[in-house]
Symmetry: C2
Subunit: 462 residues, 2 copies
């Protein structure tokens, strides 16, 4: 038992009541839109078996998994030689069978495969839960953070992409965040890899392109060179970076360049169709076809999405894409899916910076009943019960301390009213209500008090 | 990468959409009551440093902590001799610095101590989050489960106890679960330990008494004997088990027996006052003073609570108590607190068994627009946008498959209506609406459709 000041693990956070209220505003907004579009809630456990998680996020991702020490006699089966071996990874797998989930997509794929016989496809689910990554903590990057995902599996239709675009558009519009939605297609990137003569290097190409906006052309070229991609190939990339215009102009230019790549042409056809659908929908935010958009995760095979906030430079605040074979790694090939993921933490930061949280997001009590002693408290209990029965958040200060202390408690909690019920009020069956913002006091009968509170709630004029 | 059928760690669960909707009904009910009583939301990270968790739940609890393998070079500092040592516990502490939280109370105490200078006391918080225990999984016992806690720290007032009793009463009444609330006081148990001549054995006594209801008197006596408590002491326990009557009669009988124990008398005084307060409140469920109620956790020092469902034998579905020194173990002595914890899983089981979930708890879409092909889909997109803008959960089937398959999709999702918009309907600007429960079809203009949907929503006659 330690007597030291306790700490919290680095990269993790406590969420205070004030922060919780704001975070819930984001989660509730997202949840409401997901639900209105026919997505159903799902939750999976924090722990997954390591063989579910390993190999799904690349080598780097495997290293970032939090592993859970086996319970009981975890040493059983470990030989002394396993210690000091170079391969800490192999040893960790002997010590640990389980890990904390790294994202919500792989657990979802695992769920779909486990329940493939009961599920009716297309299966549309949303999931809002924390994920854990043993990343080096830094500003805006945490070891525990929430993801808000919507995915639909079991349908190839591009209407799913259109629907997800509408969802992203609506969520950010409801949160009052101005955004730009970016679209691309992995098949086009594959076509480009073919065109520049390195078809097998699509991953290197996409990883490099993914950094284009952040690092600039020169750095991206240097990285490609480092990865052994020749100058002639790199030069051919220029043809693509020069392409401009609206979506249909870009499609046309691409069709010329990629005419020899079936995959590339298929990608162009897909993105073209999506933009045609979008013409029939009034979106509130601009959608752009961005040929350089790549997104790191290598399970994407078709459309990829990314959302950037216009008024804050913070990177992507939402993204996703289509994956044709995510469940294939669990033995269920041919189930195509497409999904998006909202980054709650960055959205929170954007809204805080731009002061976009609505003022009325509070869960504070409306009234604090002051405590003047034993007799008065007993009397107040029934008043309190009436207030709560009417739906007013209210509380009785538990100790009969000085009124000043009770009022400063109310102030610190953003409670707007303090009700004073002392000996006089008890005799006259009245309540003295003090409005803390102005200091005004009024005497009410119980009926008058409820009328007054109703008025205030309706006009929301706290 | 494994091709085996994936599994889920034992003792953990996925929650399907249908289960999620029911669980959220429970969480929302609890959250709403907490909030109406002035409690504020708080969340803490899943991972805590092990020195925060260890030593807080007894030896048994320490063993049930899930520990997280240190990231990176976790072998550093481990000697070969540490392997095969008898003390796996010491080795685990070299391999792991963090663990998953075991309950919500200790993280809350840690939070209060870390933020003692910013917090205004009394601090009332609620917290609804999962906890993890490496328990042997069995029916109704999971390795990951949710707790719903409300605690207030920084006030000795018994009004806090009264308020928590009201909260328990109201939550179960709102969930339509008939319950019996049981109250006792640890100081009375300490008094009994003094009276029977084993004051230092209060923990053994409470652990044994805790099993009284489940195991019967004989087994409890046997356990006490095993622990070295003499027959004369055990005989004196009989004086207490004979006590009957209402709360004030029990208090009087106890006062006679415990007149020499200051601690015992203080406990009787506390419980007596609580029952006096309760006389002024209309509770919907009975409250009973149960001298044999002990509750295992040894950080309780005053009032203890327990709630039993009347119509299902499932053990306690809510419980809690007052702890005078929980923050003391983190270097902040003298901060008294009292709290309760709802067991969401058992509440879920009770409600399922008694069929208490309201029928309308569904998040299914209200309308599925059938997909008759490309042209029709494009036409439907704008109808869909109107439906969603009006708040109706609705979706377009993404693929132009056979109508029968689309209708069976709607049936499996509990979607009550399918809208048919084919070539004719497009020409005539109508919608054919099929009610799946009866098979009836009606043709509507858009205006008529919205009027019809509004009527249905208001009368809730799906």
């Amino acid at each position: 038992m330690s007597n030291n000041k306790p700490h919290i693990p680095k990269g993790t956070r406590d969420f205070t009541p004030a922060e919780m209220v704001k975070r819930n505003h984001i989660f509730n907004t997202i949840r409401e839109v997901f639900s209105r579009y026919g997505y159903q809630p799902l939750e999976t456990p924090a722990m997954e078996n390591l063989d579910t998680l390993l190999g799904k996020y690349g080598e780097e991702g495997d290293k970032l998994l939090f592993k859970i020490l086996n319970s009981g006699d975890f040493i059983h089966g470990i030989r002394k030689d396993d210690i000091h071996s170079q391969n800490t990874n192999a040893l960790s797998l002997k010590l640990c069978e389980k890990g904390l989930r790294y994202d919500l997509t792989v657990p979802f794929a695992r769920y779909v495969v486990m329940h493939k016989h009961e599920l009716v496809f297309p299966f549309k689910r949303y999931q809002i839960q924390p994920v854990w990554r043993a990343d080096r903590p830094q500003k805006g990057r945490y070891r525990e953070f929430y993801q808000c995902d919507a995915d639909v599996v079991g349908s190839d239709s591009l209407l799913n992409e259109v629907e997800l675009i509408q969802i992203m558009d609506e969520v950010f519009s409801n949160l009052s965040i101005r955004v730009k939605l970016k679209l691309n297609n992995r098949k086009i990137l594959a076509g480009i890899a073919e065109y520049i003569g390195v078809p097998e290097r699509i991953t290197d190409l996409t990883v490099a392109l993914d950094k284009l906006e952040k690092s600039g052309t020169e750095k991206v070229y240097a990285e490609l060179r480092e990865k052994g991609i020749g100058d002639s190939s790199i030069e051919r990339i220029l043809h693509f970076l020069k392409i401009s215009g609206d979506a249909s102009e870009k499609c046309e230019a691409l069709m010329d360049l990629l005419e020899c790549s079936d995959t590339g042409l298929k990608g162009i056809d897909e993105i073209g169709k999506i933009f045609q659908y979008l013409e029939n929908i009034n979106l509130k935010n601009p959608v752009e076809f961005d040929i350089s958009l790549a997104r790191g995760l290598n399970y994407y095979t078709g459309t990829i999405f990314e959302v950037m906030a216009i008024d804050v430079a913070i990177g992507s605040i939402c993204g996703g894409g289509r994956y044709d074979d995510l469940t294939g790694i669990f033995g269920l090939p041919g189930t195509s899916g497409v999904g998006i993921s909202f980054g709650a933490d960055r959205i929170y930061d954007v809204m805080n910076q731009l002061d976009l949280f609505p003022a009325e997001t509070t869960t504070a009590s409306m009234i604090l009943l002051a405590n003047f002693g034993e007799k008065e408290s007993v009397y107040c209990l029934s008043l309190l019960a009436k207030l709560r029965a009417a739906g007013y958040r209210s509380e009785l200060y538990p100790d009969p301390v000085k009124l000043g202390k009770q009022i400063s408690y109310a102030n610190s909690r953003n409670i707007p009213f303090v009700a004073l019920v002392g000996e006089n009020e008890m005799k006259e069956e009245t309540i003295t209500l003090k409005k803390l913002s102005t200091g005004e006091q009024h005497s009410f009968t119980i009926e008058e008090l409820f009328k007054y509170l109703e008025q205030i709630s309706q006009s929301n004029s706290l």
